[in-house]
């Protein structure tokens, strides 16, 4: 049996679900935000509830509402927030409150006789104007770790974390690689790793050159870059002979697998000689990742990857197929090279191609993978270890560090906007101009809705900080209208000092890419949601866990 739901129950049901999600996310907006505690799915007496301060993650944790009509609305919004978080790492709370306001006002217009499809078109037109206005307000950040730290603090409100991320991003830049790990100390620690490394592993513990650190390190090394499956020790004889004839002292063999017999032969070969050889697993969990990793290593180190699928074998290897690096290292988790001797011009061209692919990629997963590859090739990586008193604290701060890092990348790429909702507020005159230029009821309704929605993030920030939103909005209007010594100022409310200030001068800034993505996602999704007229529920199959 299916259940079909028609208007007005459709709007009512969806609104109920949307309101629940937004109510859960709303407290996390602004510098005086609060946390949301979420019961763990797998109960564990040793750990308390999960404490979250990120709207996207909170929305992810809400997987079903009991009211099925409400659940449809909630899951619609949840999908948008998750996608937004994947894309830009932040802005979900802003998007949620914008979405709710546009949807609520749109429902009101529709039920009073407006046309939802026409309204959607005008909302999208208004959205484009808002994005253009935001583009016009974008500020390019000054360079330097102090500036970046200030921006990070405006995102995460955690001064020690902001200071460290400012330093890290000053060094690694827009595409640099940052790994955020759970640390074992109380505070934050960072480490910079020279060169490039991949998740891989040394194929035998007997190949450690430093037993204490469980690590193999080689200098002036030749590298066989391959995804071959090396079973027969005889296959290796040709390669080893070639290396010794060329007076190669250190050799890394990268392969998908090396048999125990082959490893035994390699170990026997370096006994009582200066010749050192280590075998490492070819990086990459999937075929695509492995192929990309082999290509990247060969660009960094030179040489040609030997690919099993292309029919390459070790018996055909030539000296010029080997890559070279000043140093290579491997442990049981990673393989890295330092100062690869590939062609620098080829590396720069390869990076330019990857950057272009990254810019054009729409799938967040593809973007993430390209970002990782770019980071590896930049000549160094940063590792941030996030510590804390409890596992819960570490997990919360680790998430915070990750999403702040994502947002900082956005800053370096796309710049900043006046923060605290002031940039959105400054788009209202543009909406008013559109409103004044039309007599079409649906169109006027769309611009009115957007104009009201643009206030909502600021109102929420103010309310979360314990101030009265109506009073603050009136004060901002008053300062903007009469007492403004600077007509180009972006007035907003600094909830820390409790004063109306020019947000740019006060250094209260938001990440432009995040704000624009939030506006785009929220308005486009809400406009689409308004055109949903009917809900169809499938009968849920009964789960029977009894063995047949």
């Amino acid at each position: 049996m299916q259940r079909v739901v028609f208007q007005p129950a459709t709007y009512q049901g969806m609104q109920q679900g949307i309101n629940q999600i937004v109510a859960a996310v709303r407290p996390t907006l602004g510098p005086r935000a609060r946390l949301v505690a979420i019961d763990r799915i797998v109960a564990n007496k040793d750990t308390g509830p999960e404490l979250l301060g990120n709207g996207g993650t909170i929305a992810r944790r809400i997987i079903q509402l009991p009211n099925r009509d409400g659940d449809m609305g909630a899951m619609f919004l949840r999908g948008m927030l998750c996608e937004l978080q994947d894309q830009v790492g932040d802005g979900t709370a802003t998007a949620a409150v914008l979405f709710q306001m546009v949807f609520d006002q749109g429902v009101r217009h529709s039920v009073s006789g407006g046309n939802a499809m026409r309204l959607r078109n005008y909302l999208e037109r208004g959205m484009c104007i808002i994005l253009e206005e935001l583009n016009g307000m974008t500020l390019r950040p000054k360079q330097g770790k102090e500036e970046l730290a200030k921006i990070a603090e405006a995102i995460c409100y955690d001064p020690p974390l902001s200071k460290m991320l400012g330093e890290i991003f000053d060094i690694i830049g827009e595409y640099g690689r940052l790994e955020v790990r759970a640390g074992s100390s109380r505070g934050l620690e960072r480490e910079y790793v020279t060169g490039s490394y991949w998740e891989s592993s040394l194929l035998s513990r007997y190949m450690f050159t430093d037993q204490a650190r469980q690590r193999a390190e080689l200098e002036n090394v030749a590298i066989l870059i391959s995804d071959l499956d090396l079973q027969d020790p005889d296959d290796l004889v040709f390669l080893l002979t070639l290396a010794k004839q060329a007076d190669i002292q250190s050799l890394v063999i990268m392969a998908r697998n090396v048999s125990d017999r082959a490893i035994g032969m390699l170990l026997a070969n370096q006994k009582d000689s200066q010749f050192r050889v280590v075998a490492v697993k070819a990086p990459g969990a999937t075929v695509d990742d492995a192929s990309a990793a082999l290509g990247d290593v060969s660009v960094l180190a030179g040489g040609r990857p030997l690919v099993a699928a292309a029919g390459d074998t070790l018996r055909r290897v030539k000296l010029e197929d080997l890559g070279h690096a000043r140093q290579a290292w491997a442990d049981l988790s990673y393989f890295g090279i330092v100062a690869g001797k590939g062609n620098p011009r080829a590396l720069r061209a390869h990076l330019a191609t990857l950057r272009a692919a990254h810019r054009n990629a729409e799938d967040p997963d593809v973007r993430r993978r390209l970002q990782q590859r770019l980071g590896r090739l930049m000549g160094g990586s940063a590792i941030l270890s996030v510590g804390g008193a409890t596992e819960t604290e570490i997990a919360v701060r680790q998430k915070l560090a990750e999403h702040t890092a994502d947002a900082l990348r956005g800053v370096v790429r796309e710049g900043l906007l006046p923060g605290g909702g002031a940039a959105l507020l400054a788009c209202r005159p543009a909406m008013q101009r559109l409103l004044d230029g039309t007599i079409d009821e649906d169109e006027r309704a769309a611009y009115r809705i957007l104009s009201r929605a643009l206030e909502e993030p600021l109102r929420t920030i103010v309310t979360n900080a314990g101030y009265d939103a109506a009073d603050v909005m009136a004060e901002i209007r008053q300062v903007g209208a009469s007492g403004s010594p600077n007509p180009s100022a972006f007035y907003g409310f600094d909830v820390i000092s409790g004063q109306v200030v020019d947000m740019v001068r006060a250094g209260i800034l938001d990440v432009a890419s995040v704000q624009k993505a939030a506006v785009r996602s929220a308005i486009a999704s809400a406009a689409l949601a308004l055109t949903i007229d009917v809900l169809v529920h499938h009968k849920k199959p009964k789960l029977d866990l009894t063995p047949q």
Partner: protein, 323 residues
């Protein structure tokens, strides 16, 4: 007319090379200068007329020295730094005795040295190497660490620092494939938009008024001299008709803003421009073609009567003081 004086003692003339010359900031009075040569590190106390080995304390025969630099506060701190294979030599007594600081393993080959204009306060030094990128010391040359984030080409051929380094933290490196810039004192590097076809970049010079005028010069191996007036954003070739071969060194006058003199060293001549690189005249070249000039120092500036020291393949060092 010019004259070449005192073409140094020659240890192994056919194999020796003068890689680098460095002079005391007080050269006019003390006449102290150093030469980094394949045959070792040499010092002169008479303005480059006579040269003596400056590093005899290591009893291991000639110690090939590829770069040398003198502290801007040499008069007070007496600091001299020299690059040898895998290590840096540091002297705190004007080159009498030397300490060794390892750069790392495998041993890097030092190609160039840069010292902070505020060395007396910040103690910062950078070393460019031929395969291992840039190393930095923050403690007056005692310990060194590789600083190569974003440096996609580790074959460093030349380096230059902004005269206002303490404020803008700007450094440049010329490499086999182009130019990289750091705006955080070498902690991270970014590519500069220079056509890769113009590389390798053998020499660079930053205007003394860089903070205001943003002027940079880059000398290439085969595409002459390039000039940027916007901190490396865009580049124009200058002196294309005159400068057609490798530019081994570039020197700018100390009052570049008021008197835009540019001196470039080619392998067989020295050229000078008095208009920021637009027009050029030959300064000196008689009999040079058989040697091949490699490096130049202008301790007293670029005025017509100021002394020039020029190093050559073969180990000769010419002192030119009449032009």
């Amino acid at each position: 007319m010019s004259k070449m004086e005192n073409q140094t003692e020659e240890i192994s003339p056919m194999q020796d090379i003068v890689f680098s010359l460095a002079t005391s900031p007080n050269f006019a009075l003390d006449g102290i200068c150093f030469a980094a040569r394949q045959s070792g590190l040499y010092r002169s106390k008479d303005g480059g007329r006579t040269w003596h080995s400056a590093c005899d304390q290591f009893n291991s025969g000639p110690l090939p020295t590829t770069a040398v630099i003198v502290s801007p506060a040499f008069e007070t701190d007496k600091s001299v730094f020299a690059g040898v294979a895998g290590s840096m030599l540091r002297s705190l007594d004007g080159g009498q005795t030397w300490q060794v600081a390892m750069l790392g393993s495998p041993p890097p080959q030092v190609s160039t040295l840069v010292i902070s204009p505020d060395f007396i306060d910040d103690g910062l030094l950078w070393v460019g190497t031929l395969e291992d990128g840039v190393f930095c010391s923050q403690d007056r040359g005692c310990r060194w660490a590789a600083w190569n984030f974003g440096l996609l080409d580790l074959n460093i051929l030349c380096m230059a620092a902004s005269p206002d380094l303490a404020r803008d933290e700007t450094l440049f490196v010329g490499t086999e494939s182009g130019i990289f810039r750091s705006t955080n004192g070498g902690r991270a590097w970014r590519e500069i938009d220079l056509d890769p076809e113009l590389a390798p970049v053998l020499s660079m010079a930053v205007s003394p008024d860089y903070a205001k005028d943003g002027v940079l010069f880059a000398g290439t191996e085969s595409c002459g001299l390039m000039r940027s007036s916007d901190r490396g954003g865009t580049w124009q070739r200058v002196g294309a008709e005159t400068i057609t071969e490798a530019v081994n060194a570039i020197l700018l006058s100390r009052e570049f803003h008021a008197k835009p003199d540019v001196l470039v060293l080619l392998s067989d001549t020295v050229l000078i421009s008095h208009d920021g690189g637009q027009s050029w005249s030959r300064l000196h070249s008689s009999g040079w073609s058989e040697y091949g000039a490699t490096c130049v120092a202008a301790p007293d500036g670029l005025s017509p009567d100021a002394t020039l020291l020029v190093g050559f393949m073969g180990g000769h060092i010419a002192r030119i003081n009449e032009r």
